[in-house]
C-alpha cells in the first residue's frame, strides 16, 4: 500500500509518463519520424523553434481550455477573445498608454470576458456551450467596432518584440509557453484549486455536497480561460504586428482538439496539461511538416483529420489494455 504514490507524483518519472501518455507520445514520435525521413530540414533546431512559435498561440489557448473541459464545460468563445485581446491592446497602445498598462488592460479585458462566460454559466444556469456560442458572436462583433472591421497596426516595439525577439538564444514566445505550461501544470496537479477542479468535473453534485464552491470555481476557471486566451491574443497580435478582426477564428476547435488528443475527457474530470501540450505539438508538427513536404492544402485537411483519428484511437486502445 505504501508503494502507491500520490496523484501528483505519478507524472514525475519518465516511465510513468510513458505509461500515461504512451498512445499519444507514440503518435507524436511516428509523425516526427515520418517527416524527418521525408525532409532532412524537418529535424533541425531552427525548424523546431519554428514549430514551437507557430504552436504557441494554440497551446496557450489549449491550456485554458483544458481547465474548462476538466470541469465538464466548454468554451467556444476563446477564438473571439483572442481577437478582442489583440484589438484592445492595439487600441490602448494607440492611445499612448505604453507597454505595461496596455498589457494589463488587455489581460483584464480577457479576464472580464471569461468571467462573463463563467457568471452566465454558473449564476444564470445556462449551458456553457450555448453561452460561449453566443459570446463567440458577441465578442466577434465587438472586436470590429473600433475599426469597422479593418485591422489596427501595432507600433509599440516592446509589444512586437514579444513575438519576434529572443532571450538567451530562445525566442521569447517559447519562454512564455514554457512558463505558462509550468504554471498551469503545477496549479492543476499540485494545488487544492486543481484538485477541486478534478473533483467537480468528476461529479458536480458530490462536489457541492462536499463543500466545494462550485459556482465560484466555475467563474474562476472561465476567467482563467479568458485570461489565457488574452495571452494568446497578445502573442498573436505581436507576431502579426497588428490586431486583426478575424484573428483566432475557429482556434477554439484546435484548442479543444489539442486537449482531447492529450487525453482530456470532454465529460470532465480527466486530463492533464502534459497531455494538452503534446496534443498541441502534434497539431503544430503536422501543420509544419506537411508544409515542408508541400502537401497541397486540401490534402493537408484530410491528413490532419486522419492523424487525429489515429492518435486518439491509439490512445484509447492503450488505455483500455491497461484495464
Amino acid at each position: 500500500m505504501n508503494q502507491v504514490s500520490t496523484v501528483s507524483a505519478r507524472y514525475s518519472s519518465a516511465q510513468n509518463l510513458l505509461r500515461q501518455f504512451g498512445g499519444i507520445l507514440l503518435s507524436f514520435v511516428i509523425v516526427c519520424v515520418i517527416f524527418s525521413v521525408m525532409n532532412e530540414r524537418f529535424m533541425t533546431v531552427p525548424n523546431f523553434t519554428n514549430i514551437l512559435q507557430q504552436v504557441a498561440v494554440i497551446a496557450i489557448a489549449a491550456f485554458g481550455m483544458t481547465w474548462v473541459i476538466l470541469l465538464g464545460e466548454i468554451d467556444l468563445s476563446i477564438g473571439s477573445i483572442i481577437a478582442v485581446a489583440g484589438m484592445v491592446g492595439a487600441q490602448v497602445l494607440a492611445l499612448g498608454w505604453g507597454f505595461g498598462p496596455s498589457l494589463a488592460v488587455t489581460l483584464l479585458a480577457g479576464a472580464a470576458m471569461g468571467m462573463l462566460n463563467g457568471v452566465l454559466t454558473a449564476k444564470f444556469l445556462l449551458p456553457s456551450f450555448i453561452v460561449t456560442v453566443a459570446t463567440m458572436g458577441i465578442y466577434r462583433g465587438l472586436v470590429s467596432l473600433p475599426t469597422n472591421g479593418a485591422p489596427e497596426m501595432i507600433m509599440d516595439d516592446t509589444w512586437t518584440a514579444i513575438g519576434s525577439d529572443s532571450f538567451m538564444g530562445i525566442p521569447i514566445i517559447i519562454w512564455i509557453v514554457a512558463v505558462l505550461f509550468l504554471v498551469n501544470h503545477i496549479l492543476l496537479s499540485r494545488t487544492t484549486f486543481g484538485r477541486r477542479t478534478y473533483l467537480t468535473g468528476g461529479n458536480r453534485e458530490a462536489a457541492r455536497y462536499s463543500g466545494i464552491k462550485v459556482d465560484k470555481l466555475k467563474i474562476m476557471i472561465f476567467t482563467l480561460s479568458g485570461t489565457m486566451a488574452a495571452v494568446a491574443g497578445i502573442l498573436l497580435s505581436s507576431r502579426l504586428y497588428s490586431a486583426q478582426t478575424n484573428a483566432g477564428m475557429s482556434y477554439e476547435l484546435d484548442a479543444i482538439a489539442a486537449a482531447v488528443l492529450g487525453g482530456t475527457s470532454l465529460a470532465g474530470g480527466v486530463g492533464t496539461m502534459v497531455g494538452t501540450l503534446i496534443g498541441a505539438l502534434i497539431i503544430g508538427v503536422l501543420n509544419n511538416g506537411m508544409n515542408m513536404l508541400s502537401v497541397p492544402y486540401f490534402y493537408q485537411l484530410i491528413v490532419k483529420g486522419l492523424v487525429i483519428l489515429i492518435a486518439v484511437w491509439l490512445d484509447v486502445r492503450s488505455k483500455r489494455q491497461k484495464g
Binding site: R41, N50, Q54, A150, L240, Y241, S242, M249, F298
Partner: protein, 271 residues
C-alpha cells in the same frame, strides 16, 4: 531554392486561376514553385512563410490575407534575406520588391459608372459587401465615388454576404425591405450571382440589374445568358499569376523589377 507562394485562399475561382497561372508559368520556365494556402488566416500565412524560410526558398510571392498584418511575414523574410513579391492585395507599411495587383478602386469606379449607365442615372441601389477585406473595401469606395456624380441614384441598403449562401439571404432580405431597388452591386462574383438568384426568386427580373466583380467564367457566362446580370468588372488572374512568376524569376536572377505593376481591370458586358 525556387519560389514559395502563400495565397489567401483556394476556395475562390480567382485564386484557383491565379495559382494555376503561376504553376503553368513555373513549369514553362522550369523553376520550382511551392504553393501554401493561408485559408484567410493571417497566422497561418505567417507560419507558411516561416516554413518557406526554413526550407530555403529564394523568393516568396504573397497574396496577403491583410495588407497591414502581412508586415510580420515580410519582416521575417527580410531578416532571412528572402525577397518578397505581393500579388493581388498590396502590403502597406513594408517594403516589397514588387507588387502586382488589380487596381480595385478603379475597378469600383468602373462598376459605378456601369451601374449609372444601365439605370440611366436614376434609381435605388443595394450593395453586398465584405467589410474585413481591404480590396473589397476599395471596390466599394470606388463604386460609391462614381455614383456621387449621379444625385438621382440612391444607395438604400448595404449588407454583408461573404459566402454565396449568405449573399443570397442578404439580397433577398434587402429586396424584401426595399422593393424599389433597381440595381445591386456584388463585391465579387459569388455575391453577384447570388443576387441574380434572389432577383429571380423575387420575380423582379424586369426591374433589377446586377453587376459583379472578378469576372470568372461562371459570372461571364451569366452575363452572356442572364439579362439580370448586366455586367461584371473583370480581373485577370492569369496575367497576375504569370507576371508574378516572371517577376520572381527576374528577382532571382538579380535584375531590377518595377515596384508597382498594376493590372487595370476590364468591364465585361457580354459578347
Amino acid at each position: 531554392e525556387g519560389i514559395g507562394a502563400s495565397l489567401l485562399t483556394q476556395q475562390h475561382p480567382f485564386y484557383i486561376e491565379l495559382a494555376d497561372a503561376m504553376k503553368n508559368e513555373a513549369t514553362a520556365k522550369q523553376v520550382s514553385l511551392e504553393v501554401a494556402i493561408a485559408n484567410q488566416d493571417l497566422n497561418k500565412q505567417l507560419s507558411d512563410v516561416e516554413d518557406f524560410i526554413v526550407k530555403g526558398v529564394d523568393v516568396i510571392v504573397i497574396s496577403p490575407v491583410d495588407s497591414l498584418g502581412v508586415r510580420a511575414a515580410i519582416a521575417k523574410a527580410e531578416k532571412a534575406g528572402v525577397k518578397v513579391i505581393t500579388v493581388d492585395v498590396p502590403a502597406v507599411g513594408s517594403n516589397v520588391v514588387s507588387h502586382i495587383g488589380t487596381d480595385n478602386y478603379t475597378g469600383g469606379i468602373k462598376a459605378g459608372e456601369l451601374m449609372a449607365k444601365v439605370l440611366n442615372g436614376k434609381g435605388q441601389v443595394a450593395i453586398i459587401d465584405y467589410p474585413t477585406v481591404q480590396s473589397v473595401v476599395s471596390r466599394i469606395e470606388g463604386f460609391k465615388k462614381a455614383l456621387e456624380a449621379f444625385p438621382e441614384i440612391e444607395i438604400v441598403a448595404q449588407q454583408t454576404g461573404i459566402t454565396r449562401a449568405e449573399a443570397l439571404a442578404a439580397a433577398q432580405n434587402m429586396l424584401q425591405a426595399n422593393p424599389d431597388i433597381s440595381g445591386i452591386f456584388g463585391f465579387g462574383d459569388d455575391a453577384a450571382l447570388a443576387a441574380a438568384v434572389a432577383v429571380k426568386s423575387s420575380g423582379l427580373e424586369d426591374q433589377v440589374k446586377v453587376i459583379g466583380f472578378d469576372g470568372m467564367e461562371e459570372a461571364r457566362t451569366a452575363v452572356d445568358s442572364n439579362p439580370v446580370m448586366v455586367g461584371v468588372i473583370q480581373q485577370f488572374p492569369n496575367m497576375l499569376g504569370k507576371t508574378a512568376v516572371d517577376t520572381a524569376i527576374q528577382v532571382i536572377a538579380g535584375q531590377t523589377v518595377p515596384s508597382e505593376q498594376p493590372i487595370v481591370p476590364g468591364v465585361y458586358t457580354g459578347q
